[in-house]
Symmetry: C2
Subunit: 307 residues, 2 copies
């Protein structure tokens, strides 16, 4: 089944202890699409400027990603600059130029309206809600958000959360939405706002999925996927979006949606996140094989598997 992602395409300028790159293709929709493309057909709705070239688009097209929903607007593409120090979980933002992304109004091509799976990357919650309502035939909607929207647009976010089946955010965002510093308690409060499942991303420690009572199966036990300890994190940019791409892409590739599928999806999310950070930008995600992905999936299993 195909999946549609709505979110940002950007040009990133990144410094880390491993080096420096300028104006490389990035953005949540880009990382998500590339990661998901190893599992299913991917369609993208985003906006870019005049500076988005055929070479940039080729990075997506080579992975068979449907780019008809990428709108070209007059002006420059969204640009972001960031620096990572020794702690890969913390980026210092050097600059943010929203450019054409500032006025982004997602337009869904009518050929996309039959898409079964939807991922709402981190954009204004009102835009997320509008897309979800337009795509009224989707089987499952995943979503992301960030501290900016949690603090500035809590009402709009609350509306969106009622439309999202699986929310994927990090520890800090979970605790911020819930106003509770204890993770499992905060997770329960977030689930009460709408989602049937909540994926909390822990960075280098993996991720946990919490289920609402009765959602996708029986019980409320959470499930945790570890992250592989990685010798060299070159560039943490896009790790979370790649995680979401692996997670949602795997789900979209399955006929059934149940807890076992979601658990395996959590592992595939970790796998794609772990590949993303090994090289700068999208480099590692452009040329993977399904064999490499499944070999790492096995490594992740063995990492926590007792005889």
């Amino acid at each position: 089944m195909s999946i549609l992602v709505v979110g940002s395409v950007a040009f990133d300028t990144i410094s880390s202890p491993a080096g420096h790159v300028a104006n490389i293709l990035g953005g949540a929709a880009t990382y998500f699409s590339l990661a998901a493309s190893y599992f299913t057909n991917v369609r993208v709705v985003a906006v870019v400027g005049d500076d988005f070239s055929a070479e940039h688009e080729a990075i997506l097209k080579e992975r068979n990603i449907d780019t008809r929903g990428i709108e070209r607007a007059a002006g420059k593409t969204f640009r972001w600059g960031g620096t990572y120090s020794d702690n890969p979980n913390e980026a210092k933002t050097d600059f943010t130029e929203l450019n054409v992304f500032e006025k982004f109004q997602p337009r869904i091509p009518k050929e996309y309206l039959d898409t079964s799976f939807l991922f709402l990357a981190n954009i204004h919650p009102t835009l997320q809600a509008a897309v979800r309502l337009e795509m009224n035939g989707v089987r499952l909607t995943g979503g992301d958000t960030m501290n900016f929207w949690i603090q500035r647009t809590p009402k709009e976010l609350a509306e969106t959360l009622r439309l999202v089946n699986v929310l994927l955010i990090n520890d800090t965002e979970t605790k911020m939405i819930a106003g509770d510093s204890n993770l499992p308690r905060a997770a329960k409060k977030v689930l009460a706002l709408g989602p049937q499942a909540l994926v909390v991303k822990h960075g280098e420690y993996g991720a946990t999925i919490f289920f609402r009572e009765g959602a996708f199966g029986v019980g409320t036990h959470p499930f945790r996927a570890p992250a592989l300890p990685i010798d060299e994190v070159k560039d943490p940019t896009g790790a979370g979006d790649s995680f979401a791409g692996g997670f949602m892409g795997y789900i979209a590739s399955q006929g059934e949606i149940n807890r076992e599928v979601l658990k395996r999806a959590l592992f595939y999310g970790g796998v794609m996140g772990s590949f993303a950070v090994e090289r700068f930008g999208t480099e590692r995600l452009q040329n993977l094989s399904r064999g490499e992905i499944d070999a790492r999936f096995q490594l992740f299993r063995e990492l926590t598997h007792l005889e």
Copy 2:
């Protein structure tokens, strides 16, 4: 097989969002002993003052812990006061009164000299080394340390690390010893200093064991045990020492020492740490059953187990 722990017995005064307790029995050797007592016979070498009463000793004796190695010195027992805010991983120390612990010189009763397993809790590395050299018949030695010794006594610590088979420390300590901010790289550097295995405790995210090439089995793949998300962390004090007690106690209870045993031990460590934080002080560790422990072990397995 029995295990000997050498470390602190203390009286703790603790504040957390869940409440306040004053002068309750604590200390690394106490938490370790109680946790390990569910798996094997435990012997303790520590020092206490005149204020250590029969009631305090009874807490250990009721778990069949051999207290003959607890020396009574003139003066007061080590006292520590700490406050936890919302983040259970960070304690603010309110006061530290070393008292009789300041001059602690571990004396091993001769009845203890045949003990097969040894745990060197967090004390001066020179004292740790002296104990290890005196206990020359041990099969396996575990050890702990802290930032204070890493910074103040690096040479002495290096000597001790050559005598320890399994070092149990946290992420920050691992990176500090190695002078490397990347965990798997730092782990490799720590293993090069002596230990055959390194257990890195991640607090609420579980723990990872790294193996030196060829130690306890084949290969260098690490193994990770998750931690159970806990709704209410009442008092994080002693979680790491309880982890060590479950880990070492389980190993001591097994005939063989191999990677499968160490992996299961990592899960049992997490289990005992998770019980410890549910109540203030040692309360939860005093009255567990092996059935409760094994039920939680199963929960931990299910937490990461794919069909």
